[in-house]
Amino acid sequence: MAKLAVKILRYDPEKDPAPHHETYQVEYEKSTMVLDVLFMIKDFVDGSLTYRRSCRQGICGSCAMRVNDRERLTCYTRVAEIIGENGGEITIEPLANLPVIKDLVVDIGPFFAKYKAIKPYLIHDPNKPVPEKEYRVSKERTTHLQQFGACIQCGACYSACPILGSDDDYLGPAALAKAYRFANDPRDDARAERLKIVGNEIGVWRCHTIFNCTEVCPKGVEPTYAIQQLKRMTVQRKLGFR
């Protein structure tokens, strides 16, 4: 076991005028994840420390936070691996670009509003027959789409995107990656509509290929790639190529 100083941005909306850092001393070992540290404090030091968590295995998307100024899934980040980043101290803060409700909990409403805005569901043309069994989809196409389907909607990309830092209207990387996933599903019939939704100044054209989203995504989704592909598809459509 080794010692660790953890600085956490606390905020009690019922008491505090503003967020402030509090420092705690804990011990960790090789297998300790950042989320485990939060539990050590909540369980035995201060039960009012508030954060979202559920699966603790990197699939539910609850526990994305800023750790040492970088978006991570706290359940998936080993303390031992990041301890050197900041002189032996770890700082934990809530995601950026979303209003803070309390401590490390942010309002995910705006994030999911953008998700909903891009029509995140398969749309069939009602005039086309539906197969009795499954649609045929190639292995290659499936593997490609699964990369974008891997998104757990954790919000890390949304927090990391500097465009969202100054523009609340930008749809953001996760929503756009999801739009790409459906626009390229051979079973979908709504590509033109989808490109209209994202081919504008709150959609793909707000992306300036900063790549923060791709860097912080814990599931390898690569939203930057998806957005650039959507830009191509949008231009091609406008110029009458497809």
């Binding site: 369980d43 035995f44 508030t50 990197g58 699939i59 999911f112 569901y121 398969l122 499954e134």
Partner: protein
């Protein structure tokens, strides 16, 4: 006034499937309520796949037989028949809704083998099938604009004269209690694995809240002693490695490098049913052939390409939590609590004994899984019976007037919540939680003895007293997770009591309930479901109910 025709508690696969079906029925107003955002539900952690008799050489009747045998003949066969017969249509529904199932070379659904199955019949999405299905269902919820009370915690059911009229729910974000009136309530709150905290695959949120409130309302909990231990969980934290590792050809090895399953399930080997494999692993370790309390899962011979196509999440989990790359090294695993076959007793139409109250998914005991569940049958169960619950509830709503609920329900519940916040003492909630988990893992595990089971029960009773002296640090209204934890642990302690009492009373071994003192199955005395009724004066009161047998008389269960 908050009011709906159908209110669904829990927004995982069962809950969302029910909501989607209900939204299709004209004139039905439906809403979901969940303590989590729907996409955070633990259905999303399911990995391996979903069963259905899809291939030309398969029949749903065979799937049903495998399920009955897997259940060690405790499953209700009419419900099992229905589930297996409906399965193919449900898988095609999921695919038409956009699920990114893995494909065979011809572009059709790829199928893998899974435990206890007579032939391969598991459709899958790499090893993140639950994640894929959860997201597909939420997409459909959004497409239909179904209302969700997001991050509302249901603290109690409103039941009057045997009729359910709604729920009481705490608004987690803003604080404060609310009545949500409903003609029908569907409980789809999932499992209770955190009773085994420290030795479970389950999420922090799997505290069995729906099971607890149904119990308090007078609905019996059935077969709670049947707790599934999944054979391949990680030692440091209980995280699941999917059965698909074995389905794709992985081996289980002991310290001598032997595929020891040859001695326990010579025909099915690593793909025996989970209870059998978990017992095999524990026996190997007890007899000195373990590796640091574990056995080894070896998938090296599958090759990197296959692992990246079909088991990429497994690789990532091993690297993240163990620093091991399973492409190159075997992975130590051991049995961990994973699923409760037991739960809220329902009939095969998801109805409970309370009018207007239904249950579906892991929180329910229908019983399609009997004494042991086959892998890839739970994803199926949630979808089939989620849909059935909606249809049944909708029919009921048509002939039911809007419920009259007095505000005195709110006042009484507010007082009850205040009592939590006013608690004093020197105990810590986390300590209670940790001790419960440790005790259950040690004394109510894969193999059970009368002394250990009694010790587990005594520990639960001790903790039920001590928890009354565990104060809540957070006295605020906004996002008070400390308060939620206090409510959750009490429900877990009561469920643990039911598990212990039910297990002690069942003097046989069947499926996942394996007793050293009664090592054989006893159909003459125990071919029946345990029913545990809440009894505020003393411990749970037990009754028994026969198993519904249609085609398959109990036979010896060998693999």
């Amino acid at each position: 006034m908050l009011q709906h025709d159908i209110l669904i508690v829990g927004a995982g696969l069962a809950g969302m499937r029910a909501a989607i079906r209900a939204a299709e029925i004209p004139g039905v107003n439906v809403a979901l309520v969940s303590k989590l955002h729907p996409l955070r539900s633990h259905s999303g952690a399911a990995e391996g796949g979903i069963n259905a008799a899809l291939t030309p050489d398969d029949k749903w009747e065979d799937h049903a037989f495998d399920t009955v045998k897997g259940s060690d003949y405790l499953g209700d066969q009419d419900a099992i028949d229905y589930m297996c017969e409906q399965a193919p249509a449900e898988v095609y529904w999921l695919e038409h809704a956009g699920t990114l199932f893995n494909r065979a070379d011809n572009g059709g659904l790829d199928i893998r083998s899974f435990g206890g199955a007579g032939r391969p019949r598991t459709a899958f999405v790499a090893d993140v099938t639950g994640h894929a299905l959860l997201h597909t269902l939420y997409e459909q919820v959004v497409a239909r604009d179904i209302f969700v009370y997001e991050e509302w915690f249901v603290t109690n059911l409103i039941v009057e004269n045997g009729v359910c009229k709604g729920v009481l729910a705490w608004d987690i974000v803003n604080g404060g209690l609310n009545i949500i009136r409903a003609k029908a309530v569907i409980l789809a709150t999932g499992g209770n694995g955190r009773i085994y905290h420290g030795r479970t695959t389950n999420a922090w949120s799997n505290t069995g809240d729906g099971i607890a409130i149904a119990y308090y309302a007078g609905v019996p909990l059935a077969d709670m002693e049947f707790v599934q231990f999944h054979p391949t969980t990680l030692k440091p934290n209980g995280v699941l490695l999917t059965e698909a590792n074995r389905g794709e050809g992985g081996y289980l090895l002991n310290s001598l490098g032997e595929r020891f399953m040859a001695r326990y399930a010579p025909s099915k080997m690593e793909l025996g049913p989970r209870d059998l494999v978990s017992r095999a692993e524990v026996t190997e370790v007890e007899e000195g052939r373990g590796v640091d309390g574990c056995v080894l899962l070896d998938i090296r011979h599958l090759g990197e390409a296959k692992i990246m196509e079909k088991l990429p999440n497994t690789r990532e989990l091993c690297e993240t939590f163990l620093g091991i790359d399973p492409v190159h090294e075997p992975v130590p695993v051991r049995p961990g609590q994973h699923y409760t076959m037991g739960g809220i007793r329902t009939n095969r139409w998801t109805e409970t004994i309370i009018k207007g109250l239904y249950a579906a998914g892991e929180c329910a005991c229908t019983s399609v899984h009997g004494a042991n569940r086959l892998g890839a049958n739970s994803l199926l169960d949630t979808l089939i019976f989620g849909r059935v619950a909606a249809e049944r509830a909708a029919e009921y709503c048509k002939e039911t007037p809007p419920p009259q609920v007095s505000d005195s329900w709110l006042t009484r519940e507010e007082e009850r919540i205040q009592r939590y916040l006013k608690r004093e003492g020197k105990e810590r909630l986390a300590q209670i939680r940790n001790e419960l988990g440790q005790s259950m893992a040690e004394d109510m595990g894969v193999f059970r003895t009368p002394e250990r089971m009694e010790r587990a029960l005594q520990k639960v009773k001790e903790l039920q007293e001590r928890v009354k002296h565990a104060p809540i640090d957070d006295k605020g209204q906004v996002f008070n997770t400390d308060l939620l934890g206090a409510i959750e642990i009490e429900g877990m302690l009561d469920q643990a009591e039911v598990i212990c009492v039910s297990a002690i009373a069942r003097k046989e071994s069947r499926g996942a309930h394996a007793r050293r003192d009664y090592p054989k199955r006893d159909d003459e005395n125990y071919l029946k479901h345990t029913l545990a009724f809440y009894n505020p004066e003393g411990g749970p009161r037990l009754e028994y109910e026969p198993v519904t047998i249609t085609h398959y008389q109990p036979m010896e269960r060998v693999y």
